[in-house]
Symmetry: C2
DNA sequence: ACCAATTTGTCCGTATGTATG
DNA sequence: TCATACATACGGACAAATTGG
């Protein structure tokens, strides 16, 4: 181990320096959320680099969610929303071969805790949204696809009502992964009544601001979910199938 | 609202199509983790677009963590690691003005649950790492910076030992945000002995595979943390200060 | 409704430093 | 050591879309 005088300095490519510089301007508040970015040529002039370089830097920021398009022409500074982070995190999880058991184990901890907090903070609007969601479930018969989405939405509303951003960020990627899991289970269920009934009970408890009952029913609901999964014969310790986003490069 | 025959079709810029196409090749397994990407000129030729376009597409993938540099010249397909996702998520949280209370509230749920699982699965190597971590803490005196990092590392090791990737992904961004919080607290503490003692007890419980005690001590440890924060006089419902990454664009 | 200026998307070519055989 | 391949960055160009008058 030779004592060296100089730290090893990391040479960043110009496009990364550009991206970092713009990011700095954002986090330091010189560029605020909603502001439109200057034109590429303008940025290039200010930084003294070529426009292509600026473009590559902008792509980094674009993907990171810090800036995003409004219309087709203008880039705007945006608050990265949990959703966008979630898709990446969700993809990472599925690439890491996460199992149903891991997913369920974590949800079994968070979802009831979230329900408990939601009972304290839920607004009337959110209660209405829940009731509407339940009504939609009752109306949608045995259409699996739609039902799973409504189920996920139901839990999302509750997470929002918990008034805790950290919980929301934590559970978002998980919620996306429940989509394939849900689609595995539901076709094997004769009637969705049991699911809907649990949602009704949860909604009722939230209405009454009863955090104990809300938490209990959420726990029961989640336990049910695992039973349903096991009943399909799937191995909970095998990696989940990917979210199968139906997007193919167009053109 | 006129009924229209055609769906509104989203025109993607070529660079996004390129990125999506490469991503498809990765998730569908034609490109595996560790594979090196073809040269930019080669990709350009195959897709029939210009090299500059390919470059912009590569920047998107680079930021998303799907590909990353090895050496300065070659891009390699990589498994996005939780760390990289975490920095973005962490930044998002601080931009969303998350409060200490939210952070702590969520951690109070997850950390004890993680400790409980770690008690069942921890390996001898990980136990050694914990002991080494504690030894380093004892040695580091009152150097706040170093102490906070060791503290975060301690919890990271336990998260790894939980053998649950979902928990790890969930808590990673939170762990980053605890850095500023920790730096707020520690200077006001006379001795770190109480923290170290808690870590010792947790480590001991994990050694004995005692999940109840591990969970209890983790809970106590977290509660202590909040008390420490309150004792500084800081308002737990005010947004945390940003992680203050000391990076300024060089050059 | 039309024109002019601006801006983005894409492309071509080239120079330079570096890694690999 | 030399040759080749490659990534980085720059200069310039043009069509299409958008915006503002």
């Amino acid at each position: 181990m030779s004592d060296s005088i100089f730290d090893k300095l990391t040479i960043n490519p110009a496009y990364r320096v550009v991206a970092d510089a713009i990011e700095q301007n954002i986090v330091e508040g010189r560029l605020k959320v909603g502001d439109r970015l200057p034109a590429e040529t303008e940025i290039a002039k200010q930084f003294g680099v070529h426009r292509s370089t600026v473009r590559e830097g902008l792509r980094l920021l674009e993907e990171s969610g810090l800036v995003s398009r409004v219309g087709r022409m203008t880039l705007e500074v945006r608050l990265p929303h949990f959703r966008e982070l979630a898709t990446r995190a969700s993809r990472a999880l599925s690439m890491h071969q996460v199992t149903f058991q891991e997913l369920w184990d974590a949800s079994m901890i968070t979802e009831p805790a979230i329900a408990e907090r939601a009972a304290e903070h839920i607004s009337d609007d959110e209660l209405d949204a829940l009731k509407q969601n339940i009504a939609a479930m009752e109306a949608c018969g045995q259409e699996t696809e739609q039902f799973v989405k409504l189920d996920i939405e139901f839990h999302d509303i509750i997470a929002r009502a918990s008034r805790n951003k950290v919980f929301r960020l934590m559970r978002e990627p998980i919620s996306l992964l429940f989509l394939p899991a849900g689609q595995t289970i539901l076709p094997t269920i004769k009637t969705y009544e049991r699911v809907i009934e649990a949602h009704r009970k949860i909604c009722q408890a939230l209405s009454a601001r009863d955090k104990v009952v809300a938490q209990e029913w959420m726990t029961r609901h989640m336990a049910d979910f695992r039973r349903g999964y096991l009943r399909t014969g799937a191995n909970p310790d095998k990696p989940l199938s990917t979210p199968s986003e139906g997007l193919v490069a167009p053109r």
